[in-house]
Symmetry: C2
Subunit: 228 residues, 2 copies
DNA sequence: GGTAACCGGAGAAGATATCTCCATATGGAC
DNA sequence: GTCCATATGGAGATATCTTCTCCGGTTACC
């Protein structure tokens, strides 16, 4: 209890070390963005122009690196939701959020993996949920109160829409990277209430607790169990 | 040019060999269904109760096995489309097809991989396209002529819908294997024409040739390039 | 009963990814 | 300028997997 503020004060890292740390993070962002989380730390090292040893000294394993990136990504998503919530038009806000989230996910091959990376230690997906859930719920409920959004939709449905759209984006990415907008527009059309034909939705939405399980679907290592 | 009909008449396979061949195919169906194409041939062999050698003697590599399964899967899909086309109601037919195709894809983890497996030698996806494209086009155009389907949709859109839904199914499979029906119903709602609000779709649909590229997106081996 | 065809499965060969080690280099306190 | 705690690079030890081969022993069929 001498000087530190919390638990963080081991030593300020030598200047070259800190510079390399930043390089590594930048490289990881790029590599994971284009190739996904299954890229090896060797790849990241090469991309950063440092040795593997340097990477492993700073980040014991891929999970640590993912965790470091996790924070900023979640924050970007949360900011998106907050800005959407600040828009006066509830429908427009919801659309902005969906569009922005899908754009992020479409452009970043590793993002959904980072967001859904099941981490043994601290459950990152729990943090993601804690941060995002209230915002998305607010967006959804506000639009529903205004009668702009089908009342039978649930906040968890928004996440599924994002997952579906980003899957489409990943499939089409080499051919037509923007085609996902077509399908988002299509789905979006189905979200409005009071159309002449509205099919009652079969299957109740996923409860948050179920969604939590889905969010943990990407296993560590390159265990070929996770879906996309 | 002595006795054969085409190119097929090397020797009728000894009885035990044929029995094992069938066992292997059955095992491959099961293993690929539950774990996807990245299961190893050793897994298939173990599941079939035969030695790896036996598998490799019959199927030089995983591609050969996939190819053998490919035929029956494509045929099942084509049958689905033909039955849908035989239904008098064009909208109902299209829905039957979408529902059936999504159900197949949701229940079979390896199916979309088999259908989209880029094969060096004979281009299987080309065969799939040749078989399916006319049927799906007929289904779509018939519904559009009847005014039951938005006119701005294209046959390739149906495939994308199937891909998106099956991605959702794979994500949710351990938690709620049937939730995909919820999202199919949602999308389906957006397919009808003449609703009070119809957003014009941005991005033109994929041309068949572009779709062909998308279909070849799953690389050989376990090359971590393919999307889901 | 003879033999061609077949079987099983150990293990060779090849890929990859993870992570360690240590000789060498460098920042920065004094 | 000196010194040494702190860093660095990258070869290579480990570990894990899959694919595919090989061959002694077995089996179907005439």
């Amino acid at each position: 209890m001498a000087d530190s503020q919390d638990v963080q004060a081991p030593r300020p890292l030598r200047r070259d070390a800190e510079r390399n740390r930043q390089r590594i993070l930048r490289a990881a962002r790029e590599v994971f963005t284009t190739r996904g989380l299954q890229a090896s730390l060797d790849d990241v090292a090469r991309h950063a122009g440092v040795g593997v040893g340097t990477v492993y000294r700073r980040f014991p394993d891929k999970e640590s690196l993912a965790q470091a990136l996790f924070e900023e990504r979640i924050e970007a998503m949360a900011t998106l939701a907050e800005q959407a919530l600040a828009e006066p038009d509830s429908w427009g806000g919801l659309m902005s959020f969906l569009d922005g989230a899908c754009a992020h996910l479409a452009a970043d091959r590793g993002l959904h993996q980072i967001l859904m990376y099941a981490s043994y230690g601290k459950d990152l997906t729990a943090r993601a949920r804690a941060r995002m859930q209230p915002l998305v719920t607010a967006l959804v409920q506000r639009a529903q109160r205004d009668g702009k959004l089908r009342p039978d939709l649930h906040p968890t449905d928004m996440l599924f829409i994002e997952l579906m759209i980003s899957a489409a984006a990943r499939y089409a990415e080499p051919v037509r990277p923007e085609i996902w907008r077509r399908y988002l527009a299509l789905i979006t059309d189905a979200l409005r209430p009071g159309r002449d034909v509205t099919t009652p939705l079969p299957e109740p939405p996923l409860e948050p607790q179920e969604m939590a399980e889905v969010m943990r679907s990407i296993p560590h290592r390159s265990d070929p169990g996770g879906p996309p």
